[in-house]
């Protein structure tokens, strides 16, 4: 069984953390992954930096620009991840935009993911329709779970379609926004979480966008299996480098 699905069976709320590969320094990838696992994080999303990240707010944009300046490339990331499976068991998900993957070659990319022990992918600008028609079979051949986003504006019919194509979890975007832009969840967001709950989807949902601390994590996971922190962790890395990742994680979710 894929590590993502295995983790989803654990009877507790799950914390996923995003970081941009190559940030703050080019060679921080392994240290960040190891520290996050050690401190009780449940999933890691490794951001493959892109020059034009449409769905991201300023914090993740800036980290991507820095990472690219630092020399991060797709090939470099795979080199850094060689042997990572000797060190960690945590599910690893690569989050990246479609163009760099296209240029690498979609099949070559999938093969490399399998070889290095990547469990899943989040590709925000690869729409579910295109994935379903052209890439689903290929991803499955290489044992990769592709994770889709839904938003408060996504219709119930489309959510059901996304659920039927998905295996793993559904990334529930908390608000109509780019990353890093909300603070706390209002009544509208809660109503949306409840609406999704009532759909009784086959895949669990993990909430992303607007999670930054224990309070927002607890709020989000009232309605979902877990939550994802991105921009807030990037800010932590910006201020502290790779020091005290433990402190950051424990502020959100104490080790159980």
């Amino acid at each position: 069984m894929n590590r993502i699905n295995k983790k989803l069976q654990v009877d507790q709320k799950l914390l996923s953390i995003y970081f941009t590969a190559g940030y703050p320094d080019i060679n921080d990838t392994e240290k960040i992954i190891v520290d996050l696992e050690k401190n009780g994080v449940d999933f890691i999303e490794i951001g493959l930096p892109f020059s034009d990240p449409l769905a991201d707010g300023p914090t993740i944009q800036e980290s991507s620009t820095r990472a690219l300046k630092n020399g991060m490339t797709t090939e470099k990331l795979f080199q850094q991840l060689e042997g990572i499976r000797d060190k960690v068991e945590i599910p690893l998900i690569i989050m990246g935009y479609f163009n760099p993957i296209l240029q690498y070659g979609v099949e070559a990319f999938c093969r490399k993911c399998q070889e290095t022990g990547i469990d899943g992918l989040i590709i925000p600008d690869l729409p579910v329709d295109v994935y379903h028609e052209h890439y689903k079979q290929l991803f499955e051949e290489y044992g990769l779970i592709n994770i889709f986003l839904i938003t408060p504006q996504t219709s119930n019919d489309r959510i059901r379609f996304i659920d039927s194509v998905s295996d793993g979890f559904i990334y529930m975007v908390s608000s109509a926004s780019v990353t890093g832009s909300t603070s706390g969840f209002g009544e509208n967001t809660k109503a949306y979480f409840k609406r999704i709950n009532e759909l009784k989807l086959k895949n669990p949902q993990i909430v992303g966008f607007g999670i930054k601390d224990k309070e927002t994590f607890d709020q989000a996971t009232q309605y979902a299996k877990g939550a994802i922190i991105g921009s807030a962790f990037i800010k932590h890395l910006n201020e502290n480098g790779t020091a005290n990742i433990k402190g950051f994680v424990q502020n959100v979710k104490a080790l159980t």
Binding site: F50, E62, F98, Q103, D125, S181
Partner: protein
């Protein structure tokens, strides 16, 4: 085989809608409604009336006698430079503001590079009394101060794009992010035949008034609707799409697309996307774009701010890949000379974008009896500073 968009939003292998899920409802709403709205009688009536009374259409198809004599062929200039606001851009913004009203949108956003599309958008927003926010690269704001002032006079808010390379592509990213953050009440007026389906097709249809008029006007002047060639400059490619539109599927009409070579195609400072680009995804569309081997989008260069987009509309990518279009790239130097030449021969100062299309006659030879239409996409007032500096005027 047709060179128009297919029912899935592709031109050959190019096009589609590679968008984050957050944008899906906005784009899907537009996709499912744009054709029906455009067919409505009330829409057509208002669109045509505004083009006539406000934009000043039809624009003349002018026989350039002295220019033709010099190059030994028959050259007609389609005078889009005479449109209100000084370029073809307004054809699209008029169409899209009416579309936005039909969709019940209250707020308009746009991206702009040199400022021409920003001005055309701010203009129609003033006309309709709608809120207008224009994203513009921080670097472009410095370079194009007069257009920034024009937009402000027209009541628009100009927001600097501070991310990435702080130019047109980043302004487009910022506009898309704004649309993600404001999914219900906002319409995004894209300025060219780029972006996710249905934008390339919708913008091409609004600009198609250009080739529709050419057909009628040429019939009057030459007794036939079809020229031998249609020539247009291509950045994103909206003026070209409009000039080619009714001729796309007519193999008797040659299509010539002129890109900006900048300081030379191999100089590292160029915007010749067909020569330098590879298929990929930019701003939600699969098309040719300039990028690194690793798939990072690179910054193009041209002396003309309207041509330095790192991609090209998917229609044009298909015209290139299929061989239907003849693609020529012109350097800064040759374009500037051609602009000066048109001024002296015909008394028309063209936009530097358009000057690229005019420059091909030095090397691309035509038969004496060929009828060649050049889409004179814009006037050169906005480029006076560049002309002054370049020629020490």
């Amino acid at each position: 085989m047709s060179y128009q968009v297919d029912e899935k939003g592709y031109y050959g292998e190019f096009g589609g809608a590679y968008i984050p899920e957050m944008l899906y409802p906005n784009v899907e709403e537009l996709r499912s409604r744009y054709l029906n709205i455009m067919k409505e009688e009330s829409f057509q009536k208002e669109f045509k009336e505004l083009l006539k009374e406000y934009v000043g259409r039809p624009t003349p198809l002018y026989y350039a006698k002295r220019f033709s004599e010099k190059y030994g062929t028959k050259v007609y200039l389609k005078r889009e430079d005479l449109c209100h606001t000084g370029a073809h851009k307004v054809n699209n913004t008029i169409g899209q503001i009416l579309m936005a009203q039909k969709l019940g949108k209250k707020r308009i956003i746009a991206e702009t590079g040199a400022g021409q599309h920003g001005v055309a958008t701010a203009t129609v927003c003033a006309l309709m009394g709608m809120e207008c926010i224009v994203y513009m690269g921080e670097i472009d704001i410095d370079r194009q101060a007069p257009n920034v002032a024009r937009m402000k006079m027209l009541g628009a808010t100009v927001v600097p794009a501070k991310s990435g390379s702080r130019t047109l592509k980043d302004a487009t990213n910022e506009a898309i992010r704004d649309w993600i953050n404001n999914p219900v009440d906002t319409h995004y007026i894209i300025g060219s035949v780029v972006g996710p389906h249905p934008y390339p097709d919708m913008v091409a249809r609004f600009q198609a008034v250009i080739s529709e008029e050419i057909k009628n006007q040429l019939k009057e002047k030459e007794g036939k609707e079809d020229p031998d060639f249609v020539v247009a400059c291509v950045g994103g490619g909206s003026n070209a799409a409009g000039a080619y539109y009714h001729y796309l599927d007519n193999p008797d009409v040659g299509i010539i697309a002129v890109e900006a070579a900048g300081k030379g195609v191999d100089s590292g400072e160029s915007a010749a996307t067909s020569a330098l680009g590879k298929a990929g995804i930019i701003h939600g569309s699969k098309t040719l774009l300039m990028q690194t081997g690793d798939g990072q989008i690179t910054e193009p260069y041209s002396i003309s701010a309207g041509l330095d987009y790192p991609g090209v509309g998917p229609m044009h990518a298909n015209l290139y890949a299929s061989g239907r279009g003849e693609f020529i790239s012109i350097t800064d130097e040759d374009a500037m000379k051609a602009g000066l030449e048109l001024a002296k021969l015909e008394g028309i100062i063209p936009a530097i974008e358009t000057s690229h299309a005019l420059a091909i006659f030095e090397t691309r030879k035509f038969e004496k009896d060929d009828i060649v239409i050049v889409n004179l996409s814009g006037r050169g007032d906005k480029d006076l500073n560049t002309y002054i500096e370049y020629f020490n005027l």
